[in-house]
Amino acid sequence: MRRSAWITILGAVAAQAAVVSTAEAGPSDAVLVGVVRDASTGEGIEGALVIVTGEKIQGERTMTTNVSGLYRIPNLPPGTYDVTVFAQDYGAGNKRAGLQLRAGTTIRVDVQLVRSGTREVIEVNVAAPTIDVGNGATGLSVDREMAQRVPIAIPTGKGAANRSFEAIAEATPGARNDTYGTSIAGTTSPENKYYVDGLSVNDPGFGLNGTGLSMEFLEEVRIEAGGYMPEHGRSTGGVINAVTKSGSNQFHGNVWAYYTPGQLEGRREIARREGDAIVTERNLNWIGDAGFDIGGRIIKDKLWFYGGVSIARTVYDLTSSWNRVSVDPDGNALIDPDTKFTVTERIAGTTQRFKAQGTTVQALGKLTYSPNKRNTLEILAIYAPSLSGGNGTFGMNAQTGQPEVLNLVGDYGALARKYRDNSTDLQFKWNWRDDDGKWNFDTILGWHHQLNQRNAVDGTRVGDTTGLAGTPSVVYRRTNNFYGADGGLLEPGMPGYREVHSLTDLTPLPGGAPGGACDPMMYSFTDPVLMDAQTRSVVCPIRQWTTGGPGLLYDRRLDRLQAREIVTRLARGAGHHVIKFGVDFEYTQYNSNRGYSGNQIYRESTNGTNFADFRMYSFLSGPDDANVIRNLNWNVMSTTIGGFIQDSWSIMDKVTLNAGLRYDAQHLFSGDRTLAMALPNQFSPRIGLIWDPTYSGKAKLFVNYARFYQSVPLNLADRAGTGEPGLQSFHNAVGPGSCSDPLAPGANDPGGACTNDANRLLIGGPADADQRWALASAGKTPIDPRLKPQSSDEIVAGGEYEIIPDTRLGVQYTHRWLHRAIEDMSRDEAATYFIGNPGYGIAKDFPKAKRVYDSAVLFVEKRFAKHWMITGSYTLSWLRGNLAGLFRPETGQLDPNTTSDFDLISLLENRSGYLPGDTRHSFKVFTAGEIVLGNGQFLRLGGALRARSGGPTNYLASHVLYGFDESFILPRGSGERLPWNFSIDPTVGYTKILRKDLRITVSMDVFNVANFQQILAIDERYTFDEVNPIKGGTMADLASATTTGGTPITVNPNFGNPTFYQQPRQFRFGIRLSF
């Protein structure tokens, strides 16, 4: 046998390099391809033996070349490899050392052999090509090196404290942060698919990332923005795959700590607001994380471990103070001539300080067992508990990473909650491959679990009848009225004259304030718009104040069980084939127990004469026979089964054809165990062509078409598919024995002033069977029998070229458009809803849902080698349509597939235009380098630079049923564009090698070093009035526009004013010990 001649050499190589196998099978695997040629003739050598070794695989992988000298080795976990090639009559081996393979890429390494009689292995140290010649997917890979050297994750927003992998995804060309994560290719963050080592960790309820694992535990994050293969599905956004580190035969570990102090923050621009006596400033106190990880062997060459713990904490300061209207000695309120705001003055001694804080712990453990060359087994466990709020502090919103309140307009017990957000992941993986590398089987069993609790700050929980959980929430919101029905100005004491509440009516003046600082006094207020002199008396006006209990409380438990089997088969026939097929089963469950503290939220009417049951779970069992549900507890579930087959066919070593088909079927089930929605027949074809014009892995041109289907999160089965029944009645608040204070002792008890029928207003008309109650919502929302799943289509095309070793330059064009959307709609103005596809089926009279994304990307990437790296991109993009995605960016409403976008016919006009994510120009540059100081010392320098043109703004008004900001007076995007936004985030660090395998690094990242305070958002609420959309209207039409009542529009004095500025300058200090 010709192989026996080399056995000794092989043995030596194998013994040297065999370290560990992690068998990162599936989505993160890399493929190595190439041609072995005769150096003198340039012809391919048949039967040459290619051996791949590396720290991430046990033993070696071998493959013999075909008749044209081609070899192809798939299923290589990302990492560094050596490739050794031998061929008969070519005596010497040829070794390429230190090849870097990134997750999910196909890299080509050609080898030339010289005929000779020597028996020595020639080692060549040439950088691996960087072009992925097997794939037409767009996106970005961020490895450990880049994540540690470049300050990508900014210390604000979701996943900021522990620098989670979803925050890193923002570095992808064309990606941007949105309210709930990272938006990719014009989509919304809940549309992404999040994986940790191939385990799906999406929140089963809402689609967000459910396990925000710290980058510290990761080898690499691969973000597939588009053009991905059929093995990825159930997502119309991007695919974000975090690959965790693994243990090896050598012990390695890190200890790290990062700290961002609030004291060093740059000056914060405060968004000024008209109107309220309470002003709250929010400042970072500190944000930081610390942790360690360690990996090594338990049994050499057989069993390895990796594990780590990280703890992250975020603390914000919330400082509120009271302000009173400034009145001159003549009794006139002062108006700022520039802003038209009422001038106010801070009342000394009224400052109150609170903290909003949250702590997250992450613990990860991984065992890898490779009993023989064919089998690798792996168990991964992640536990990440999170706590925030309570004990005098406010909580952090786990979905957005921001403090739960903006302005402290209410009592602590009513505004603050205590949160517990845990995630647990458990995964078992088994990889089996045959001896000659033709068959490869990956079996993945996984469980993702989440616990999300929102409790009262006194520790009471949903369903409790005592404490704050047993106390109703009460919202005071009386408005001003200075005009009679005839339009004449009213004076105090006249019928109809009404002022907003004075703060001291609702809460006592803080002790340190001068007595009587808020006492009413008569003054004259000249309305800056109407120029009427109104007589007012309230000097500490408050438009809205919340007191009592905390309102909505919940206890949600979510589970995602998954089983996946992927088979890879290598085949030959008119070229090389990597055929993959598999099945993918997921069962998700969402147990949602929710309720309002004290059963309900009471909301004062704007005229102050009654309180409504603004939110109360309840239903009618007979005329005016209301049944209150203290806590509504549904358990909904979904099954998804799918399969795919794909072939990556390398034709004559020049062209790769990727073709495949994916099938998925999702079924959602209601809380009563019946079917809620069927989404079968999701056939997703994917086809792509890649051509390497250089035939040497140094360039590629590609084009790819794909259809993507969206998995529907369980929130739909819970809310629309099962129902949140609610009723409203109105409690008279005027006169003796009335419901004037829902928090008075006994008022909310059975038979109390706020629960008895005597105080309920008779609101029914002559034909209403119920005279005291109005239905707010009933049971399930019916589904269009012809409903189709939500899907997008995409075409990507582009090219890449390796201009110098390690550096590639590329261009990409993406065109992605929504094919069908699932939304709820009502054609009788909110009386009944149904779920369907807007523009199709029974909703054919509704406009079609549209979202079209076009982008052109120019990028350059030089991976870290020879002491420096750079990744830069320029993206030119357009995003147009009438549906942003699974949440509404204008209001933050997160109800996937049941947002208010298509709800009402009266709201459908003017919805098409530039969507909130429309960013015309975007530059991103990430760079890092090190200067060798000698004596084992390095100076590390680097930074991130981002520049982005501003997004569109709108003219919004209120809608009679849906409230503020739901009516587009002018077509979407008619407002002035926001300004450009720049940020420069440099980093400087110092590394010292203390001894072999032990190094220390200290670093300082500066975010927004120039402390730019650019406007990120403005108030788009043109008016608080109810105004219907002006079809195709322009600015000129605004002047003559009227409210639905026919009266002139009162412009919101805050319209167009900044509401949100760029984060100020922040410093992050880090220290790391690596061994």
């Binding site: 068959w439 009618l620 005016d624 809620a676 002559p766 009788d828 009944t832 009279d845």
Partner: protein, 279 residues
């Protein structure tokens, strides 16, 4: 070891699993419900003296509501056990008149539940529609006697106004609805209704066939019934029936003093065909 034999066997597993995909391809059936907004009902006389006062009804506005039994999952409603209420505006106005009467009405004011007198309530046969997408309530009845509205004397304090009101005699009405059925599909969520009605007022009885559509839309011409955004499903076959007069939206008579013709004959949009009435 024969690895070549083992992989194909294992490779069959995905295929076998895919075969059991199965699952339903049809969407769930909706629960029985009435619509939440008012219905415009057309009354067609089927029995009784066409000249009698009680046979003069050409239609009415009907209010309806669906109720669910208690005892569902975790304290919620039992959606499988619904009942319906029908409340004609004509009957409701009789009660409203007494409720809003300026002086106490003996035998009415202070009575418990007077506001519910006009409600006819009956149980659905099933929680789900039948094979023709119809939900049935066999019988719904309401009957009440509104007491006499007493005479009101002139207020001596206001010499220039005569507040005198004559007494209104008591009146007894009875509505007996039978064979009531609602179309229940995602496209028509109880918004098309049909029933037989036996109406009795003060001893006079007439029987009608009633067809109704929700929401109630006032109209002058047929075009008013197909205006976008009026709330009626645009696929429904509807027309304007000017014979129906809603006392809360009365016809406008011509003003003889002006040359223009101000007369407007308001009607209600009704179904053009028996249910299901589609274009």
């Amino acid at each position: 070891m024969q690895p070549s034999k083992r992989p194909p066997l294992r490779a069959l597993v995905p295929g076998a699993l895919l075969l059991v995909v199965g699952g339903s391809c049809t969407q769930p059936t909706m629960n029985c419900t009435t619509a939440h907004l008012y219905y415009a009902a057309q009354y067609e006389l089927t029995s009784g003296d066409a000249n009698s006062p009680c046979a003069q009804h050409k239609g009415d506005i009907l209010g309806m509501q669906t109720y669910f039994a208690t005892g569902g999952i975790n304290g919620t409603a039992k959606f499988s056990d619904p009942s319906a209420a029908i409340r004609p505006q004509y009957a409701g106005l009789l009660v409203a008149e007494a409720l809003e009467y300026p002086v106490d009405v003996p035998g009415f004011t202070g009575e418990k539940g007077v506001e519910h007198w006009p409600n006819a309530v009956g149980d659905f046969e099933s929680g789900l529609p039948d094979g023709e997408d119809l939900c049935h309530v066999p019988q719904l009845d309401s009957m009440f006697t509104r007491p006499e509205l007493p005479a009101i004397a002139d207020d001596p304090m206001t010499a220039d106004v005569d507040e005198t009101v004559e007494a209104t005699p008591p009146t007894a009405v009875a509505y007996e609805w039978s064979n009531a059925r609602w179309l229940n599909t995602p496209d028509a969520q109880g918004t098309q209704f049909e029933a037989d009605l036996k109406f009795t007022q003060d001893g006079c009885t007439a029987e009608f066939h009633v067809v109704a559509v929700s929401p109630a839309v006032h109209c002058v011409t047929d075009e008013d019934c197909t205006t976008t955004g009026n709330g009626i499903n645009p696929d429904f076959a509807v027309e304007c029936d000017n014979r129906i007069n809603d006392p809360l939206s009365p016809d406008v008579a011509d003003d003889p003093e002006t040359p223009a013709n101000e007369a407007v004959d308001y009607g209600l949009c009704v179904l053009a065909r028996p249910i299901p009435s589609y274009e």
